[in-house]
């Protein structure tokens, strides 16, 4: 056992234990660690963004280097603060509109291509798609199951008609696929959360207590 003498390791370890103490019940140690975290995170973010974004990308060029055209983004950015003045608060729509317009313009073609068209292509029964499963002749079976799953799940979320007859059968099959999806997601969530616990324990046993390498 080789306990660390580094004060930063000790602070980190004690903060971790303080947060873990919430598992027993709410207590002052937990609340202390929580407030410290929020304060430090905010302080760090403000200074970081000042030194790495606002200062080098706006204030330095505008006020120190005299690049006057930076006045335009400066003024548009400042319009965000008009929210606090009721009489001119409508001006906030200008930066929001510019921001939304840019992102929507950039996003629509790309997301449509990547998230919709490619996914639809991947659902179609083609020999190329059978091979993506790396399952030999079973690739056909998996592709068919995928197609049934997609169609039936879509049927389940089709609310314009009563779920009776063929639509009823399809939607009942669809709910099975949805439930399997939820089950898989929950299983992965357990794995993720346990992994995070393992990571913290590896830190406590290693760098802090020196029990393991």
């Amino acid at each position: 056992m080789n306990i660390s003498s580094d004060p930063w390791i000790w602070i980190s370890a004690l903060m971790s234990l303080a947060i873990f103490s919430f598992l027993y019940r709410d207590n002052p140690f937990y609340r202390f660690a929580e407030h410290i975290f929020v304060g430090v995170a905010n302080g760090w973010a403000v200074t970081f963004y000042w030194h790495n974004v606002l200062s080098p990308s706006l204030f330095d060029p505008l006020f120190r280097q005299g690049q006057v055209y930076y006045i335009l983004p400066f003024v548009v950015g400042m319009l965000y603060f008009t929210r606090f003045i009721p009489r001119v608060s409508w001006l906030v729509r200008i930066p929001i509109g510019l921001y939304m317009g840019y992102y929507i313009g950039v996003s629509i073609p790309s997301t449509l291509q990547a998230y919709i068209i490619k996914q639809v292509q991947g659902t179609i029964l083609t020999s190329q798609n059978f091979q993506t499963w790396n399952a030999g002749s079973m690739g056909v079976v998996w592709s068919v199951i995928l197609l049934i799953g997609v169609m039936c799940t879509l049927a389940y979320f089709f609310f314009s008609r009563e779920h009776k007859g063929a639509l009823g059968i399809a939607s009942r099959i669809g709910i099975i696929f949805v439930m399997v999806g939820f089950g898989a997601a929950f299983g992965y969530t357990v794995m993720a959360r346990i992994s995070l616990l393992i990571g913290r324990l590896q830190f406590l046993l290693g760098p802090w207590l020196g029990v393991i390498e």
Binding site: L23, Y24, A45, F48, Y49, N52, V53, Y103, V106, S107, S110, T111, Q113, A114, Y115, K118, Q119, Q121, G122, N129, T132, W133, N134, L146, G181, A184, A185, Y188, T189, V190, M191, A192, R193, I194, S195, L196, L197, I198, G199, R200, L201, Q202, L205, V211, I212, E213
Partner: protein
Amino acid sequence: MKIIETLTNIDRRIIYLILLIVVLLPLLFPSVEKVRVMAPVEKLYYAIDTIPSEKAVIVDFDYEPQTAPELDPMGFAILRHVFERRIKLLVLSLYVQPLGLAQNALTQVTEEFNSVAKTNADSIIYGRDYVFLGWVPPPIIPILGMAESITSVYTVDYYGNQTDTLPLMQEVTNYNDVGLLVSLSGSDIPKWWVAYAQSRFGLPVGAGITAVSASEFYPYLQTGQFSGLLVGMKGGAEYEEMVERTLKIKVRRKASEALLSLTYAHLVMILFIVIGNIGYFAKRRKK
């Protein structure tokens, strides 16, 4: 019936304690079992392994301390793989918080290589073998801008050097010189690379993600939009296995050491779910 009553009313703190014990014990006596490598991990490994010598790989470190236990092992293993194969490497982050983790991984892995290097050619040298580009906000700017010119987007690197003075950046100018981008992220970022860099400029993308988001990302592997996929600590352990098996790099494998804890924890969870369900149905029958 009294047993069922007792089992279904176990105090949550007892469950936490049992979980802590089963996770802790294997960590106190770490051992690495043979890991079975799944196809998505193999695909990413060989996607990196087969990058032509004139092309570079970009590794996007975009995870924060809260997801580092899952994604750090992937990052370390990929860096070892890239450096061992002497593939040109660019490292970046689309957000601020991951910068420290990326720097930590680069420092540690380059030290591993340089401590055993005998000549200058064997060493991993900054500017020649890799460049840490750092961070430029907002994320859409570097994703789109690097298609035209990387040095125009990242005029200075993480350490403040002018990027156009670095030898590696003379060879890697834009996405045409990049063979693969690997995005390690606890959020949606790998999908952004697919949407903006792949569908517009044809950049091949691989991903390392947290287990919690796995079911959201698998469809992109099936369609071939991801060149490979690493999921959670298990994915990290599989990549560590590939690196050790094929490149004979023997280092501590943090993700592989954790697999026993992960397995026992899952068994305990399954046990409690079964107990809970037995109790629920027994109570319902009684009513």
